[in-house]
């Protein structure tokens, strides 16, 4: 298991890529949910 997370010594690069990418996608979804709620509340 820890071998999997070590990514053959490239853990920083591999998880840094996936982590930031999915964090940004999640952020976009959250911001959009906010905007959507505001848009519906004030017609």
């Amino acid at each position: 298991m820890s071998e999997f997370f070590a990514m053959g010594g490239y853990a920083l690069y591999v998880w840094g890529s996936y982590g930031v990418a999915f964090a940004l996608l999640a952020l976009e979804v959250i911001l959009l949910a906010h905007r959507s709620r505001n848009a519906r509340r004030t017609p």
């Binding site: 999997f4 990514m7 053959g8 010594g9 490239y10 920083l12 690069y13 591999v14 840094g16 890529s17 996936y18 930031v20 990418a21 940004l24 996608l25 976009e28 979804v29 959009l32 905007r35 959507s36 848009a39 519906r40 017609p43």
Partner: protein, 235 residues
């Protein structure tokens, strides 16, 4: 045929498009989540280690699909912008506006993952070669489009001004795509193209394609929700 095309015209009106977009967005969001789980499973547990790069190559499953989306979304955005400019349809401009933030996001992800991939393999985070530079220009095009639209208060005028920028910027897309063939670059050539069989193991290719499909679904869902917001905000 004629009734069919009439039906499409009917959907081109924001009011009728609104509920349809809601249903479509929900379906695509679910598909995106399922495909992402499958894609990540293939990428991390099925695809073998690469002979040259070891585990570092696994960044490919996010880097390449993100780079594809960054270019594809720009073309779609410019297409809608052009339609809006030519036929003066309200929904087209809204589509272009809704696509820009997601396109910019995928461009940034492609650049970010590329830097994190370049450091351990090439030995550098960044070089000013043709592929990397033209992808950076793509990010600026997206940001410029968004800034320009934000700077103009009247939506229809903002749409028209943005459309001109979007259409001019399309020239950058073939430059990005063919940069690795036209010039000497540090970036390697394409592993996957329409002309030849992919130069990678089948399971690696499968992981990349499934992740690309997930990003497609994600982009459609997010864009449709954003179009709904824009319809509500403008009308």
């Amino acid at each position: 045929m004629s009734t069919d095309s009439l039906k499409w015209l009917w959907y081109a009106s924001p009011q009728t498009f609104y509920p349809l977009a809601g249903i479509l967005a929900r379906g695509c969001a679910v598909a995106a989540a399922v495909l992402a789980v499958i894609g990540l499973y293939i990428g991390f547990f099925v695809a073998p280690t690469d002979a040259q790069q070891g585990e570092a190559y696994r960044i490919i499953f996010i880097h390449v699909p993100a780079a594809w989306m960054s270019m594809f979304l720009y073309v779609v955005m410019a297409f809608w912008a052009a339609i809006g400019l030519a036929f003066n349809t309200r929904l087209s401009g809204m589509m272009a506006t809704a696509l820009a933030p997601t396109g910019a996001l995928f461009t940034f992800v492609a650049l970010w993952t590329g830097a994190l991939w370049g450091k351990p393999t090439w030995g550098t985070w960044w070089v000013w070669d043709a592929r990397l530079t033209s992808e950076l220009i793509l990010l600026f095009l997206y940001l410029g489009f968004m800034a320009l639209q934000a700077a103009i208060d009247e939506p229809r005028r903002a749409d028209r001004a943005g459309a001109v920028l979007a259409i001019v910027g399309v020239i950058n897309i073939p430059i990005i795509y063919y940069s690795v063939e036209w010039w000497n670059t540090l970036h390697q050539g394409a592993s996957v193209s329409l002309k030849s069989a992919p130069s990678m193991a089948a399971t690696m290719f499968a992981g990349m394609i499934v992740m690309a499909a997930a990003f497609w679904m994600y982009s459609i869902a997010v864009t449709l929700v954003r179009v709904r917001c824009i319809i509500l905000e403008r009308e």
